[in-house]
Symmetry: C2
Subunit: 199 residues, 2 copies
């Protein structure tokens, strides 16, 4: 291509590396950043570095935090005896949004996926077991994704925890609220039938 | 929300400012950047600052460049007497991809849009006229967008240039190649009929 300005190409390439961002969107974003006021671009650039420098894993639940403990583990009102095990920090945000859950979390940072070379030792499973042994727990809620990898991870962890005589539960499967029966896949529908409750 | 880690929130907010990026996507991108190796995050951060520091407008065509002249204006093989007027640098990239055009460009950096408070004086129209008066031109191809604003801008500029006795042309309107007649809007179809050519 005749039109090649190195600093611009580099910026476009950086955006192109992001998930779900193709060439065209990367161009659009790069031009947008280029047209920002200088201070805004500086703030953007610094936010990337700052996040990398300050954010690390909570020493209890492995969620992301910029302090020793994450906001949930810092909160004395949260029930430390109930631990919800999720794949990643975004799942914590999703569950927090329900304003329903008063327990704590444990973030695995992934799911077991042999095809991607991710085994149990790459996940924060060791930390979960140590935490349970040290602080005890009444219930472990397996809230990994309803995918093959998430299921496998939930099964794997529950097998490790059950000998400790701790209640291990799994999120309910069923029709999404507001969802149309006719668009639900047959596996979901079967699970929804199995899990039916009294009205 | 109970889950609030300041450096992470700041990074999410930065991504949310970008066009077409909503809250969820901003979260996804921020977590992705956070999971990058430190060097990659540094490269991303620096690309933003570098682009802002090094990129400015080409002194001839107003396109973006990190040198005195943009790659097109630097190229002696390009015909300086034919100037294609476009709204923004992305349009240059799009036309360059055709590998058909051998002339030069002039980037207006926008289109006349009274509703957005953009008048002719905010665009690089003065620079275009000065350039034509100084270097001469055989043909000005108006390649602004086929929107109300793009049309108005093309009309406005052509009125300024026509007294100079220079050929002013406009990109052809018609059915997009590969496009289905039944999905073409009536205005496009009318223009395609008007512009029909001998087979």
């Amino acid at each position: 291509m005749a039109y090649n300005v190195a600093p611009l190409s580099r910026l476009i390439e950086q955006f192109e590396k992001l998930p779900g961002i193709g060439r065209k969107t990367a161009q659009r974003l790069a031009f947008y950043v280029l047209n920002m006021p200088k201070e805004d671009a500086k703030a953007f650039s610094e936010a990337i570095i700052e996040a990398h420098q300050k954010i690390h894993h909570c020493s209890i639940c492995q969620n992301l935090t910029d302090e020793e403990l994450c906001p949930v583990c810092r909160n004395p009102a949260r029930d430390r005896k109930v631990i919800c095990v999720v794949e990643n920090p975004r799942d914590v945000i999703a569950i927090e949004k329900t304003r329903e859950y008063k327990g704590t979390y444990h973030v695995l940072h992934g799911a077991i996926s042999p095809l991607d070379g991710i085994g149990p030792e790459q996940l924060k499973i060791k930390e979960l077991l140590e935490r349970i042994k040290k602080d005890g727990a009444d219930e472990i809620i397996m809230a990994t994704n309803a995918t093959v990898e998430g299921e496998a991870t939930a099964m794997y962890i529950s097998k490790l925890i059950k000998p400790l005589n701790i209640l291990v539960t799994r999120l309910a499967y069923g029709i999404p609220v507001g969802g149309d029966l006719e668009y639900a896949d047959e596996v979901t529908l079967r699970r929804a039938l199995e899990g039916r409750s009294l009205l």
